[in-house]
Symmetry: C2
Subunit: 345 residues, 2 copies
């Protein structure tokens, strides 16, 4: 299978992973070495960017819902997100070519061997998005929000199995707490309906969590496969296939609407803001995959979820529930345990 | 203050604490030494007994509520619980005197110096029980159940301050999780009312948690002060003062009812069962204080709370909520972290 090939190449020589691995045995002070410091800084910046973008994303969604119902086609918006990401990657590449010149690492042209794995994450997301339409026959929207927390567990398990990276016992405990804490924070009086989800609904939720986790972990494998390769080139190819698969989604789901009403029907300034935000978040996710990993991504988006709720108190007069406080406490302890679990292994 | 005196004596020579301390530096295999094995066994037996008795206690309460309203006076029942504990301690002592003879460690007679601290836990519980009548002006009964989880934190903090015993970072994290997990497991759609508790209600809840935590930690200090002293003698003196303070409670609160309707008015077979159960649980708590500590007690009663809910599904057709599953998960992870936290310090 494809991901086996990626891993085998990883073993032969992967400077980034080797750097990470070599840190484990070292005393803590060594982390402050100049190269590691830059890497740590990069990791922090992209993680904070992802947290900020994800929470503002959620706030834009609440805002757009308050402004009225979705009238634009979601598939065309998704296509534009991929197109914008592609364009931004090209702009960044252009600047790099001007300052550093074209090298083997930042040239756009590629080999079939390199590019052959790039469509896979986009294809997995497409299947997941299509399944999303069917799961609502079994679960309501708030219930689906709860079930989406299964992503946390599936990401952890697939990260361990596919990328063969070990988490310490304490970090596994922290990961279970992250899932339980996020779910607790989202509890509302009607959440118990989720327990009545029929068997097929559970199966679909689990399959979707696995698809989503697999796509995330696979993207990390692709990006980390060639650590010296410029991230903008890697992003460009990921997003080209993202555009292609979203074009398929438009044809399958919204072809008539687009032909009759036009591609941009129902777009408002807030839709444009959401597209820009999604594009930037997507690039931040790629950056986190390059300079950190899926575990950091999961923590970052979980913290974003809690931040969103706190910000919504001021913006939309939301009330925070007791469950939210309890869930946030558990998530905070989870983050603390994840960080001390690293040092103690 | 009294507890200072106890601690100072602890420092001079406390075989039990010294044994515990000396374990820390030793390799794990040493724990299996014959003496420690017996102690570990004793610790497990008393902990399991406390867990079993506490959960059956809660089940008896649900059962008695279903059978009808409380008609008996709670103060007379509390007095009988203390009297029964006293009697059981004397029976146990009688057996020991027959087999081992009367020694300095198991003789009932005592000095003013030894006995002077024994009334304090009983007095603290009396004040706490009196406050309990007033807090219901600010919080409803389910809300009070939620606020009672503050006991977990107060016990941990006072255990650290008064007994000067250290918990590792991971064990502190585990303790916060235990509190959050227990509260989450008890959440119901109306729990959010707790957040509207007025300031005075919060203050009373915190004072009650401190009183209850202080009484527990102080009892441990008294019992561990003289490790060679027979636990039944220590219990006898604790319960004698328990009887005395409950007699005061009868006089203050229920004097008229007892004079007019009689001491045993409204007692049913289930009341008798509850008194027996409370007496046995009380003795189990003392045993846990002697052979383990307040931290074990808190874990034991928290697990009992979860067990009660599971058993109630079968006995009373209770439904378990999603919050219960999430809370139980957090409590389970907390127990795991507490146990690995011990080894890693």
């Amino acid at each position: 299978m494809e991901y086996r090939r990626i891993k085998d190449q990883d073993k032969i020589g992967d400077p980034v992973n080797e750097d990470i691995e070599s840190l484990r045995g070292k005393p803590i002070l060594d982390v402050a070495a100049p190269y590691d410091k830059t890497k740590w800084k990069m990791k922090s910046v992209v993680t904070l960017a992802l947290t900020f973008l994800t929470s503002s994303q959620a706030i834009l969604i609440v805002w757009s819902k308050r402004a009225g119902r979705y009238e634009y086609s979601v598939t065309t918006a998704n296509f534009l997100v991929e197109a914008l990401k592609c364009a931004l990657s090209l702009v960044a590449l252009g600047r790099i070519w001007r300052t550093e010149g074209v090298t083997d690492d930042n040239r756009l042209s590629t080999t079939v061997d390199e590019v052959s794995v790039y469509p896979i994450p986009a294809a997995l997301y497409l299947v997941k998005n299509l399944l999303q339409y069917y799961i609502f026959a079994y679960v309501d929207a708030p219930g689906y929000q709860i079930l989406k927390n299964l992503n946390i567990i599936s990401t952890g398990v697939l990260y361990r199995i596919i990328l063969k990276k070990k988490l310490s016992e304490i970090q596994w405990a922290a990961f279970i707490l992250l899932c339980a804490g996020c779910t607790t924070a989202q509890l509302n009086p009607s959440s118990d309906h989720v327990l009545q989800t029929p068997f097929l609904g559970w199966m679909m939720a689990i399959v979707m969590a696995l698809l989503s986790g697999f796509a995330g972990v696979y993207t990390e494998a692709i990006i980390k496969k060639r650590p010296s390769r410029n991230i903008n080139v890697q992003n460009f190819w990921l997003y080209v296939f993202g555009m292609a698969f979203n074009l398929i989604a438009i044809l399958v789901q919204d072809f008539d609407a687009v032909v009759n009403k036009g591609f941009f029907h129902g777009y408002s300034p807030i839709t444009v803001l959401m597209i820009i935000n999604h594009a930037l978040s997507g690039i931040a996710v790629s950056m986190v995959m390059k300079y950190a990993d899926n575990i950091v991504k999961v923590y970052s988006t979980s913290v974003a979820m809690l931040l969103t709720a706190v910000v919504s108190v001021f913006l939309f007069n939301f009330h925070l529930s007791l469950a939210f406080f309890l869930g946030s406490t558990v998530v905070s302890v989870s983050i603390y345990l994840h960080s001390i679990g690293k040092l103690q292994r």
